[in-house]
Symmetry: C3
């Protein structure tokens, strides 16, 4: 398991010139996600660094959940900005290799990790801002949708959406619930059925992301938005967030084992295995 | 009951010139609805042809449900375009003569047929596209709202809406649920209370229809939209559609008998009978 | 309790000049709310006149509920326009002095009065139009949201919103439900978490109010909107309104005592008492 790397925290400097804020930072040294907590602002930066496409493997998801848990339990942390360290991609979504030719035990473990990640992120008491600096299909889109606010680089080559239907698979009900909470029933119904990947300007128009900014302004904007949200007293904001999201979180909690069984039944079908293998072949050829 | 008219299917022609696609068609010969299935595209065209206003009589509703069932069970059919063969009107909604001065048994049979039509259409596993080429009040609007996509002729003289309240009657809860799923709670609340009939441009702005096109481009556009939806693998699209619509479908299924009783109680009131008779008189004078 | 002041009703005048409509009016003589019912139009005008800011004290809420009940039971009354007689403010929301340093019994009585007001207003069978002629935070916003239609003076200095989170408190679930029914889940989630007070133009853009008009046209517009809604037959409109709002009304009815307990627990906390006292100090200094 990843551990706090307290060594990276700069020692207090008596020579700190006035006006230059001392920024005491703690960072995690992880394999796939880099986390840096600025203790003076209370804001952590989470950067996905799992090239080539930040796919959500079991290892990635586990690191993600553990990182969120650590930050959640750290009184110095009040908000998280989530972004990618890999150019042009935020996250490509669930790692298909985890769903191909593996054992039932593996599928169970994998799906539980997907659920766990979402329960922690959607239910986080911290302010969560997604700085979407690349394409973000399927599970990548879910991560963005689960944050409190979404800013996307205005590059029309970047797209975002729950495109599962394109691959012949179905987004789980809690992906759908999260999507409906953001864009409403009609837009979700159409987008999910078509498995649409929306270019950034269209995603903004549909309300999938809250704001578009030039790529070079993305982190600056994310920090400004975070400051605006952190201006509120934590306790009232957290209770309000819980009130808004509880129904949808409770629904997965209540049907978690059933949802795992559904996933296993689905992914075990020969037809699904075949289409996933074909999709992987296609991805390999693209490289 | 209407029957497949397989005689209309063109025989395979060995002389078919290259480039001109053979379009094997099967059509129903019905009284009120004309159905033509293009077996090469998998798309059926349903045309309401019950002049003067395609009102939803018991006979019309029965034909509609049977036609949908046949297409649903036909492996050659993947999508349906629904439109009108009567100029200027898509459908005027429920046939008021079925609700005036009839027996309890008749009201029961009629209302069950209305429910049946909606359950089949809203729950259809086929792609359903409404090509709204005329006005579409009340039950006519419900048919459009129950499809996967709505294209309307951009003629501002054509209007659409659930205008039941204007006639002194109340849209059933499942009309309301369908409406809310398309336009959201606020727009539905206001439009239903006012019994609004929205001219095409306003209907588009409110999200009641997805797209406006010049009348002469309507069928072309409907075919293009259908092709886009049929590009998706059926199975994943169908499961996704079910996931989005199941809650609302289940609600009527669970309360079907109660809903019939409500209708009978309501329609049996002397005050309601009186206002329906007045409305019919007004319609007769208009002609 | 306030009583009908039938003395203010003008006697029928045989000398009434033609063209000048006789407007038989009845008015309540209350302390905090002025009510005038025009019997010929069936429209009552309710004006909040509790300077400086029309705060919702126990006395104000009680008068409000009693006034609504009287109008509801008066066959001559079909609609109510709600506005303020105090310049620049519609209502400042719940009276904080009722929540500070009082007994459990008082908190219980106060909260029950807040619930009662909302249950009567949101569930009213009359047409309710809010003519928002000033700022309208928190409980003031709830009153506007609970009406059938909201018109706001287009002055950008006037703002509206459920800003409870700014004061370190949490809007109750039924404030949230009412808000979600008007603006949808996403806008409500963001606005409630940030405790936003939206200037009139932004409130209009978000759908919090239906229309903006110049301040001097506000009452004229409210009367025109009311006439449009009253053109519908009452019975069908009322049943439709109930169908749209019942789920949310029932939710409070079912959890009313629990909601009172939650309020008392919350408001009794020393930290909450402290922040409310600080807020009151700030308000006093402003004057």
């Amino acid at each position: 398991p990843p551990a706090w790397d307290r060594a990276s925290r700069p020692p207090p400097s008596p020579l700190q010139p006035p006006g230059l804020p001392l920024a005491p930072c703690r960072s995690f040294s992880n394999n796939k996600i880099q986390v840096e907590l600025n203790e003076s602002s209370g804001v952590a930066m989470m950067k996905f660094k799992s090239p080539p496409v930040n796919s959500l493997s079991l290892e990635f998801l586990t690191e993600f959940s553990i990182s969120l848990e650590k930050l959640e339990n750290d009184r110095a942390c009040r908000g998280v900005i989530i972004t990618s360290a890999v150019p042009k991609i935020f996250s490509s979504g669930l790692d298909i290799t985890e769903m191909c030719g593996k054992s039932m035990e593996h599928y169970t473990e994998f799906w539980r990790a997907v659920q766990e990640m979402w329960l922690r992120l959607y239910g986080s008491s911290m302010v969560t801002v997604a700085a979407v600096n690349g394409s973000s299909p399927a599970g990548g889109c879910l991560i963005a949708l689960s944050c409190d606010y979404r800013i996307m680089a205005e590059n029309p080559k970047f797209s975002i959406g729950l495109n599962e239907a394109q691959l012949g698979i179905v987004a789980p009900f809690w992906f759908k619930d999260t999507f409906v909470n953001v864009v409403g029933h009609r837009i979700a119904e159409r987008s999910l059925q078509l498995g649409s990947l929306h270019p950034a300007p269209e995603a903004h128009k549909l309300g999938i992301v809250d704001e578009l900014v030039p790529e070079e302004k993305l982190m600056e904007k994310a920090a400004a938005v975070m400051a605006q949200w952190l201006a509120l007293p934590d306790h009232a904001r957290q209770l309000t967030k819980t009130m808004m999201r509880k129904a949808v979180l409770d629904r997965l909690e209540a049907h978690r084992e059933e949802d795992i069984k559904n996933f296993i039944t689905f992914v075990s079908k020969e037809s699904i295995q075949k289409s996933l293998r074909m999709y992987m072949e296609m991805l390999k050829k693209r490289k």
